[in-house]
Symmetry: C2
Subunit: 448 residues, 2 copies
């Protein structure tokens, strides 16, 4: 999206050249139109929106941010609102409702037909993050007695407002999912073939209550562009399409990355989140971690008198804490990602620990050697002090990596979110452990 | 994938019930078959593979891990190898070639037909991570003079071995991309309509040299299931399909998460990466960060004498360092994610800094208040020491957040990867700054 498109639109708008504006929009994609509309001064939004052809307007509407959508809906009369809503897919309407304030939601529901309203309410009832909450109900249903010819006729007749027509679902009168047939199969088959004979009957589907991330991963694993969503009785209730799967993957990665850096995930882009909101997402974690860090302080306090007689030891506290923290995060974050991609399960715990133990010994020894050279040649500390620092380093790296790989897996096992076991918490835990090891070794070797 | 499928297969294999085994595989999806084959003892792999019908065998083959693929290829005779290769899409063959050792690659290339070999070599020549390197050349090409009827005939005739038939490309004799037409449009049009009249001519495409992540994001933005890849002269050279876009998104997120936790990203799952390989991916960063942390140690050393007379100050070093590090990572990681999703650009730097400055003041003051209460009521330190610790805390949080949000944006601007500016580096930088602030304030207030 080049900036000059927005400038061009503003120029045409100022000159009141609405026909040229309309022609400009006609060659653009809904996502680009949405971006231009958001970038122009907000007071022009309703006017500009009315220039767009109906279908394009609805497609652009759904791509806009929540603030612009709310502004537009508030400016619509009931007829205009209905026109936009009529063009939306059910899953998009549900997304919209979830983001709008109560007053707007009421108006939206009042302006949808009773059948759509029933479906919307049903989808809204599925738990957040479930497959049911992101599915759409606009799919093509066929019967197994149909011929290919009849199937094409049905697709032509009902396909116009379906989210996808390329994968069609064969169900019985109770909506039990019997088979799947693709337009590709239909095109390559004879026109007199019966669907019951050519449909695929080994169907991979997801349950309405399944986690939406699992649904997206299943689609990715099998390279599906669409997956059927079924209820407990295996009746077809909806479909999830690849574009929603892409969104889920992107959102889940963003969420995981937020949690790993001790930020409560939000659903707005950074620049659209207010200062107070950002503060609220960050401060609880900072407070919690600050309080945890006082334990580390307590360890120092309890060795205060020893430290006073060996102040040189203080200089290595940051290096030991940082290296321990970094070693621990490397392991924990790697394991968390493996858990979330389904590559690692609880049963792998012994293998994971064994691997991390070996890696940590290698890392510890390498770091120890590098550090020993530095301590003796540059810092010119005594052999004893070097021995204390270096052996602490090895011990810390080993403990950090083993703790770092174990905690996320245990957290997941007992039903906690493993992502919170990432860098910040591991760092805090490892800090305390590394200082404890440090002072214990120092007490023995230096006779403090 | 339930475990009992693998057990079932093993049972049938031990009983030499090959027909039952064949029937079991027939109802499974290629991705599931690949998983079962990998889990069974490796010596059975060639035998089991030969049980599968040709097309299913090739589809399962491409889902397997590199070790199993290599093992299989080495066991194939040339005829078997050709049979598998014939069934693969070009992009899958390219993926395979990129992962196999030189000897195996030679055999693969010897057993592909000259035209395919030419295309493979062309794709292999595109830079790693470019759109060209992940595209496939198996798309449906149509001419603009064709009727809908003729288009369907062409699709039926050539579609069987195309990766997708649902989006077809209208090109001229020089392969210049003129338009796009979907099977949906074709189905809803009259059979006598001319493609030139119904095709979409405002085409969004990506360049062969474009970053593959940008290609995937473009597909996600516009909800495309497939995107055309064109060369500098706008000639169509290939397409990228949604399944590859899903893989790119997943891989890129994993890569970013690795880099953010100071691990060199690899392309194998955790449990399949060897100990030495894991060590190699982690140790350079640990060494680098350890060396950086010595600067922090040097700051402590230079204030050693002051510390000796005020040992109580040492107890608050971990808390100050950790809080600074956590505050900095919160900002840097949030910004890095925003940059990689394209939500934040260099031009936003002033807005970002202004926002982080306000958030950091709020966070700093909150943490300061909580800490002050703790220092006075629980630690019972003097007012002066409390003042030193609390004012350091506020200053550190502000510096940490401003540095944390600025560095990734600047890194990206000068062409570096912003992800390396995540937690570990920010923590190291903020550590040094926070200690410097700490001792400077202490020197003034406590008259050290």
């Amino acid at each position: 999206m080049e900036i000059n498109m927005t400038e061009k639109a503003l120029e045409l708008l100022s000159a009141k050249r609405f026909l040229d504006l309309k022609n400009l929009f006609a060659i653009l994609n809904p996502a680009d139109i949405a971006q231009i509309l958001e970038e122009l001064p907000h007071e022009h939004l309703p006017l500009l929106f009315r220039i767009l052809p109906k279908e394009l307007a609805a497609d652009a509407f759904i791509e806009m941010d929540n603030d612009s959508q709310e502004l537009l809906i508030k400016g619509f009369n009931d007829k205009e609102l209905r026109e936009v809503l009529d063009e939306l897919f059910v899953d998009d309407t549900v997304d919209l409702i979830e983001e709008m304030p109560a007053g707007v939601v009421k108006r939206i529901l009042r302006n949808t037909d009773p059948e759509t309203r029933r479906i919307i309410n049903q989808i809204l009832n599925y738990p957040e993050d479930s497959a049911g909450s992101i599915m759409t109900t606009e799919y093509v249903r066929l019967q197994k007695e149909m011929t290919v010819e009849q199937a094409f006729a049905r697709i032509k007749q009902t396909g116009a407002d379906k989210e996808t027509i390329y994968t069609c679902y064969v169900t019985d009168e109770r909506r039990l999912l019997l088979g799947v047939v693709t337009v590709r199969q239909l095109l390559l088959a004879e026109r007199t073939d019966i669907l019951g004979d050519i449909m695929e009957t080994h169907i991979i589907s997801v349950d309405t209550f399944e986690d939406k991330e699992i649904a997206a991963q299943t689609m990715s694993k099998y390279d599906f562009s669409v997956i059927p969503v079924v209820d407990k009785e295996k009746r077809l209730v909806g479909i999830i399409t690849f574009d929603d799967a892409l969104d889920v993957m992107e959102d889940e990665a963003t969420e995981d990355i937020s949690k790993m850096s001790a930020v409560t995930p939000g659903d707005k882009p950074y620049l659209k989140t207010g200062v107070w909101e950002t503060w609220k997402a960050r401060i609880p974690w900072l407070l919690l971690l600050m309080i945890s860090a006082t334990f580390t302080g307590m360890i120092i306090t309890s060795f205060e008198s020893s430290l006073a007689s060996y102040v040189v030891l203080t200089a290595y506290i940051p290096m030991l804490m940082d290296t321990g923290g970094n070693s621990g995060s490397q392991s924990s974050v790697t394991i968390i990602r493996g858990l979330s991609l389904g590559e690692i399960t609880f049963g792998d715990l012994p293998r994971v620990i064994w691997k991390e133990a070996r890696v940590s010994v290698l890392c510890g020894v390498t770091l120890c050697a590098a550090n020993f050279v530095k301590l003796i040649l540059f810092d010119r500390v005594s052999m004893l002090v070097a021995a204390v620092v270096c052996s602490t380093l090895v011990a810390t790296v080993i403990v950090a990596k083993v703790v770092g790989c174990t905690l996320p897996i245990l957290a997941k096992r007992i039903g906690f979110d493993p992502t919170v076991m990432a860098s910040p918490f591991i760092t805090t835990i490892v800090d305390a452990i590394s200082l404890f090891i440090y002072f214990s070794i120092a007490t023995v070797l230096l006779g403090l």
